[in-house]
């Protein structure tokens, strides 16, 4: 068994818990009083030996009744860089929670968002049913769809994961997930080349695919807010898309063998359909794309083949009202940037910065297309994009294997 990365204090705490059926870990800073209240509301839950782990000091523990099946346990996170982005901190916490589950020998492990929206009896039972009764190793949530939310996930992360690893997962990078003991062991040991607290993201769905574990999805009727105010788009791209590209590098031998995707079993009721209100103004997005097109040609030409550059040139000349980025062009752009990331064609920060105007171009095109559609219609549009990712995968494989020879 590999040596645990847990902090010494947390490690000694986990060794004194006794048998644990369920470990619920809160992956982020949480208000102690709020957590205590929320846990007390869970007392109706018919389970035994439940540990609720949260990052912080141990002042809450005494407040729970002695006969309670629940036990609150603080844990300490590895000293992380303060400049880390919210999801990087959450990933560090998720990895720690999985390591704790392994140390405790917990049968089921849940890692939940620190806003505690998922911490209620109904959601817990749904997660437990999926893992204990339906035999899922990893349960990922499906949040209610909104047309103009999670665009980075819909445009790159989810379809890329689907095309590469063959799993149709809606949210591959998620703040909530549940997993079995064996999946927790895999996740706690998933990034041996990363130092603890270095901000490397945890991709549970990719790890499950690599280990051939059963993945399920659970529809949750909740929305989490991620604080991205003040963060530049290129920083977000560097962190999220850069991490996805990094995973591509390490798992290249696996995903090159995958030919098609398969549906993922999804449980739970269809959530509420959110109304997205007025259509968004795409002009600033198109302007950003055009500015990039005017100034970043020399940078893009290092990454993109002439055919794509020509398509981009054509797009920059059309009327803003009919501005569209064809799926094939966008997918090939993402694949070419993934290849450039791997080959280090240029500094990776620069590379992700150069992707930002192209991404905004895609957002403008998508927003224009789905403006008059219902959320369901927008989902169908995204399904079409995901299929384009799969159809163009041979292009990626060819370029990945022969980057110099295959350059259309």
């Amino acid at each position: 068994m590999p040596k645990s990365d847990l902090e010494e204090e947390t490690l000694s705490e986990t060794q004194h818990t006794g048998p644990v059926d369920l470990l619920i870990g809160i992956a982020g800073a949480v208000n102690a009083g709020e957590l205590q209240q929320q846990v007390q509301q869970l007392q109706g839950y018919q389970g035994s030996h439940v540990v609720v782990a949260y990052p912080g000091a141990s002042e809450v523990e005494a407040a729970l009744p002695a006969e309670s099946a629940f036990r609150l346990m603080p844990y300490s996170l590895p000293a992380a860089d303060r400049s880390l982005l919210p999801w990087a901190i959450a990933s560090t916490a998720q990895r720690t929670i999985c390591a704790m589950a392994v140390e405790m020998g917990a049968k089921v492990c849940l890692s939940l968002h620190s806003d505690l929206a998922t911490l209620d009896t109904r959601h817990l039972e749904l997660f437990l049913q999926a893992i204990a009764e339906k035999g899922c190793d990893l349960v990922l949530p499906v949040y209610p769809s909104r047309k103009f939310e999670g665009l980075l996930n819909h445009s790159i992360l989810a379809p890329l994961t689907r095309a590469l690893y063959g799993q149709r997962v809606r949210f591959p990078l998620t703040p909530d997930f549940g997993c079995s003991a064996q999946m927790a062991a895999r996740l706690s040991d998933s990034s041996p080349h990363h130092a603890a607290g270095d901000g490397a993201l945890l991709w549970p769905s990719i790890q499950a695919a690599l280990s051939n574990y059963q993945v399920c999805q659970l529809r949750l009727d909740i929305q989490h807010a991620t604080q991205t105010e003040g963060l530049e788009l290129s920083t977000i791209l560097s962190s999220l898309v850069g991490s996805a590209f990094s995973e591509m590098e390490t798992s290249a031998a696996y995903w090159q063998r995958i030919r098609a995707s398969h549906p993922t079993a999804t449980f739970g009721d269809m959530g509420q359909q959110w109304n997205d209100g007025e259509p968004v103004d795409t002009k600033p997005l198109i302007d950003s794309f055009l500015l990039g097109s005017r100034n970043l040609q020399e940078v893009w030409s290092l990454v993109l083949p002439p055919v794509t550059l020509l398509e981009l040139k054509k797009m920059s000349r059309v009327d803003p009202a009919s501005f569209r980025m064809p799926d094939e062009v966008w997918v090939r752009i993402v694949y070419d940037f993934a290849l450039a990331y791997r080959l280090r064609t240029m500094n990776r920060g620069h590379l992700m910065g150069a992707l930002a105007p192209l991404y905004l171009g895609w957002v403008a095109s998508y927003a224009g297309e789905v403006a008059g559609l219902s959320p369901m219609g927008a989902e169908q549009r995204l399904e079409q994009l995901a299929k384009a990712y799969e159809e163009n995968k041979p292009y990626l494989v060819s370029r990945w294997r022969w980057p110099d020879r295959f350059n259309p």
């Binding site: 665009l151 788009l233 977000i236 968004v280 302007d287 950003s288 100034n295 620069h350």
Partner: protein
């Protein structure tokens, strides 16, 4: 009279041929040494490449996040190392060749002069390389950041930064080589000071109204009610 001129020219020609004859063994020795070292350099570079490929040097160096390739991205680390090995041997060959030339041609003082100037040349080459790499890197950083900030004059800004670094590098290289003396310092001071002064005047005089209007607007701006962003990337 004509005979004297002819005699004098013949004497001069004789001296020239004597000088060439004296230098020829030295030149031949220099060329021979240089050729030998070129062969050695080529063999050493090939050996270095084979060893580095065998130990998967590129993969190992690419495993870290801040590698040399981040700064000089078009070259793989193996190519960079093999080139350094090759050119090191060539430089050693030139130095040995100069010494041989001096020994074979009875021309004294050449190698002493070359050897004393060599550290300056090496320093200048390093400065030039670093200046070029940093200039290109900063220029691209500025260009991409400015585009992402929606600045219309992004390219102008990037070009300005690149040339500023190049001019600074050129001044440092010339200063290091002791070429131009005070003129380079003075010219650079005037150029750099001129740019700063021009910018100060542009803001102070040309854009005075614009600056005052923008400050006034900032001071009188009512408290804005934040508008909910409709697009969420993550």
């Amino acid at each position: 009279m004509w005979q004297q001129i002819e005699e004098s020219l013949r004497d001069s020609m004789g001296r020239v041929f004597t000088k060439i004859a004296t230098l020829l063994p030295g030149i031949l020795a220099f060329v021979l040494v240089l050729l030998i070292f070129l062969v050695i350099a080529w063999l050493a570079a090939m050996l270095a490449r084979m060893v580095l490929n065998a130990v998967k040097f590129d993969e190992r160096t690419n495993a870290g996040s801040n590698t040399l390739t981040e700064w000089a991205p078009r070259q793989t680390p193996t190519i960079l190392v093999t080139r350094i090995v090759f050119w090191s041997f060539v430089v050693i060959g030139v130095l040995v060749g100069v010494s041989t030339f001096e020994a074979a041609s009875a021309e004294s003082g050449i190698s002493a002069y070359v050897f004393s100037y060599l550290p300056r040349v090496i320093g200048a080459v390093v400065l030039l390389f670093l200046g070029t790499v940093i200039g290109r890197f900063l220029s691209r950083s500025v260009l991409i950041s400015a585009v992402n900030l929606n600045l219309q004059y992004a390219r102008l800004l990037a070009t300005g930064v690149r040339w500023l670094v190049f001019v600074l590098t050129a001044a440092m290289v010339l200063d290091h080589l002791a070429i131009g003396g005070e003129i380079v310092d003075l010219a650079f001071g005037i150029l750099f000071g001129g740019i700063v002064l021009a910018l100060a005047l542009a803001v102070g005089l040309g854009s005075r109204d614009l600056v005052s209007r923008s400050l006034e607007k900032e001071a009188n701006r009512p408290i804005e009610i934040p508008v909910e962003e409709k697009l969420h990337h993550f």
